[in-house]
Amino acid sequence: MSDNQAPQAPKAMRGVGNFIDDRFHLAKMGEKNLRKVFPNHWSFMLGEIALYSFIILLLSGVFLTLWFNPSMGHIVYDGSYERLRGVGMSEAYASTLHITFDVRGGLLMRQIHHWAALIFVASLVIHMLRVFFTGAFRKPREINWLIGVAIFTLAIVEGLFGYSLPDDLPSGMGLRIFQGVLLALPLIGTYASFYLFGGEFPGEVIIPRLYSLHILVIPAILLALIAAHFMILWHQKHTQYPGTGRTEKKVVGTPMFPAFAIKAGGFFFFTFAVIVGLSAFVQINPIHLFGPFTPTSITAGLQPDWYMGFLEGSLRIFPNWFDITIAGYAIPMGVLIPGLGFMGILFGGLAAWPFVEAWITGDKRPHNLADRPRNAPVRTGLGAAGITFYGLLWLAGSNDILSHTFEISLYTTTWIFRIGIFVGPVIAYIITKRICLGMQRRDRETLEHGYESGTIAQLPGGEFVEVHKESSPETVHVLESKESMTPRIETPAANANGVESPASRSLMGKLRARLADWYTRDNISFVGVEPHSGHHLHHGSHNGDGPTHGVQGSENGHGGSTASDKVTQGAGQNK
């Protein structure tokens, strides 16, 4: 068949190709990029979801701008939606009603835009967690991690601003809280608020201003950052999970053209279909039910979009005990710390982590193979602690609903979160780290013994044992990919005369040594473990039992020739 003999390109394509190449000399570069390798793993699709939902946001957003009127001019509504006729409102709110009740497909586009925003931020978070837990942020990819953190931060700000534009009751209340947090800033708070809002809250300019930020400035920056994210990814190539043939030197996967392009295209349509499906059947942000914003009204049980939930929660549970007054000037810590400090901890911590980890471990090598999360127990534990911290704050943002649902006092829920926010992350850290270490032990055992076959054999001595079988080469490869975890700080501990080097004697040096110890101490060593060698880890009960060794040795097939094996057998014979 001629399938594999490349047919000549159709004349029209050759024409276009030649036209371009005559001007840009792109044949070689074009081929190289069409051959770009995409490693196959489901978790690599998370970032794709973010990209696709961003594209959907751009498309649906452009549609909405055709009718939306970002004006705070006060009018009395006289439009198609009967229930609000005669009600005073801003033109922004009225035009949102127009999109909903006069423009066919307008409601759909509004819901698509909102759902896509929620999914955009959600997929960013999950993608980020994947990169964190697999250590894909390590050298040489720290810059791309930082760009990712910037995208995440901007996406949240972009979401908050977009949420504020329709000028319905919850959206205005979100702005009010934002302004309240701004006011709390020492010295500059009132100025920042007056300049941003053009005077007092709510003023008459905030929506046009947020509109220009929301549809132009922030999307442009986001687009630039996303482009940079991709160019760096393209240049550095993807990380990959350990496996046969996958090494630090060579990336293995599906080529961009044709297979990945078609798969990714299909995935784009799936993402789009899910967002449109949600928009068709799950109502979101029904602003016509909320009514227009007035600064004097509120309804109980208001919930912000999910990604603002953790800030809402932190504002709810942070007490006023630390509010101070210096020479009569108020510093409302109860607003500053939860409103800005927690965000600083979250984004600052994320941004700093690659460098902190490299500093602690002294690891300066480039990494292309992703870590299995269990093989970095402290990092994984910290990640779990971070998720718990964030998750508890997020839940605390719904404490009134929780209190109502579970019929516990509102103040009790607040106290549960106030305590849980400290205890929860510690517990999550300990449990996660222990699970990781347990999985490491299990891995070492599998590596040495093969997998449990489920077959029970009886030994001549009457003892029952489970027969282990050799794992596949792929499994062995994956298990063997675990790096030994020793602190790699280069500073020599002591010179020839036994005097500690200044670097390790300094306070930072000591801190670093302690952190490195904490980071690596409990890790299970795989050093010297030979695949299917059988007995390296063997428990004392088997040592005196000759026949056991005989059976298992033959079962595992490798003849017990490794050093560790001999040692164990020797010990057995001595008894």
Partner: protein
């Protein structure tokens, strides 16, 4: 199949291209086995022969059919989208039929449902295409060696420094420094230009419209209030100052600062924070507080009459209305400002002055008296 290959030819001798090997699939099979000796010559596809694993022709034919069915479904759903769009056309009087919320929901479900189905079907068809027609294989590509070889690095650094020297930027400090100096005002200009985005705060936040003799009216109706209107102990009304020029005279800015809660309670319930001045500001157990929470500015709209507690639904700051609106729980720091009350000659409730302290979220100089 590769076994066959190695068994038969040792690679070096056979010049003639191998046609077929028994037992290999026909469709695309040639490439799979042919390229062992000289893959580059035999296979002109995108990848080396040993890297490709074509699907059996049978699978591909079935895949093509299934994908085509999905694409047809996508097409029909796409047509369905247009049908649902045009079936919600404005009525004869040119009024939109989707103005009715129920119809709007139906239109949304139909348009969204057909669109989602169309998108899903395209995705499904492409997935079938990828899984049943595209050959399955993985290819490898080397990662860049990091860092660049010392030779390249030193060559770059040498070139850069030589050129920088050549430019005179390093050698001519006067020029360099004056250029940097020249840039400074330009860099600051955009920031300075933002100055007129808003007025300076001055003391705007510390005073409101409320003044002695200004009538208190019910929020929403604009009706003046007499003390008897709050006859029932435990009653609560959300109120505003009377606008001088009709219904819409009060801007949102002013509403946000002046809105109050009027609460009637048994005067015996007043707590120790209610000093003589604060008691003077009440009228027959009627007390007025700012409705705007001192935490971050939500309306503290919930009132529990038995405990006299005012609760802000946003972050649950709780104030004791019987005790100067002291904070009893939650993140707020300052009590709600109290509005002095009295009645005028006709018995209507009026303000007796402005609030006892600045309204709304605490700002840095909120507690500084002028």
């Amino acid at each position: 199949m590769t076994d066959n290959n190695t068994d038969n030819g040792n690679g070096n001798g056979s010049e003639e291209p191998r046609e077929r090997v028994i037992g290999t699939p026909t469709g695309g099979g040639d490439a799979l086995v042919a390229g062992k000796e000289e893959p580059h010559r035999k296979h002109e596809g995108p990848y080396l022969a040993e890297e490709t694993h074509a699907r059996p022709e049978e699978t591909q034919i079935r895949g093509e059919k299934i994908a085509a069915v999905w694409f047809l479904i996508a097409f029909l759903a796409g047509v369905g989208f247009f049908v649902s769009y045009f079936s919600f056309a404005p009525n004869a009087a040119n009024e939109p039929v989707i103005a009715d919320p129920a119809t709007a929901q139906l239109a949304n479900a139909l348009m969204g449902g057909t669109l989602a189905l169309s998108l899903f079907a395209i995705g499904a068809g492409m997935t079938v295409w990828a899984r049943q027609i595209l050959p399955h294989y993985e290819v490898a590509s080397p990662y860049d060696e990091l860092p660049s070889p010392p030779k390249e690095k030193s060559s770059f650094s040498e070139f850069f420094m030589r050129s920088a020297n050549e430019s005179g930027f390093t050698k001519r400090p006067l020029m360099r420094r004056t250029l940097l100096l020249a840039m400074a005002p330009l860099g600051l200009a955009p920031i300075v230009l933002l100055r007129d985005t808003g007025p300076a705060p001055r003391d705007t936040l510390k005073s409101t419209l409320w003044e002695d003799g200004l009538h208190i009216v019910v929020e929403g109706t604009g009706r003046r209030i007499k003390a008897e209107d709050l006859s029932e102990t435990g009653g609560m009304i959300s109120a505003l100052p009377e606008a001088h020029d009709g219904d819409h005279g009060l801007s949102l800015d002013d509403q946000a600062k002046t809105v109050i809660l009027l609460i009637k309670m048994d005067p015996d319930d007043f707590g120790p924070q209610m000093n003589q001045q604060r008691l003077d500001w009440t009228h027959e157990g009627i007390i007025a507080y700012s409705k705007i929470c001192t935490h971050v500015g939500c309306p503290a709209a919930l009132y529990e009459r038995t405990t006299h507690r005012i609760l802000c639904p946003c972050h649950q700051s709780t104030f004791d209305a019987s005790n100067g609106a002291e904070v009893v729980f939650g993140p707020a720091h300052r009590p709600l400002p109290q509005l002095p009350l009295r009645v005028d000659n006709e018995g209507y409730l009026v303000a007796a002055g402005d609030f006892s302290s600045p309204v709304g979220p605490t700002f840095w100089d909120a507690e500084v008296k002028n």
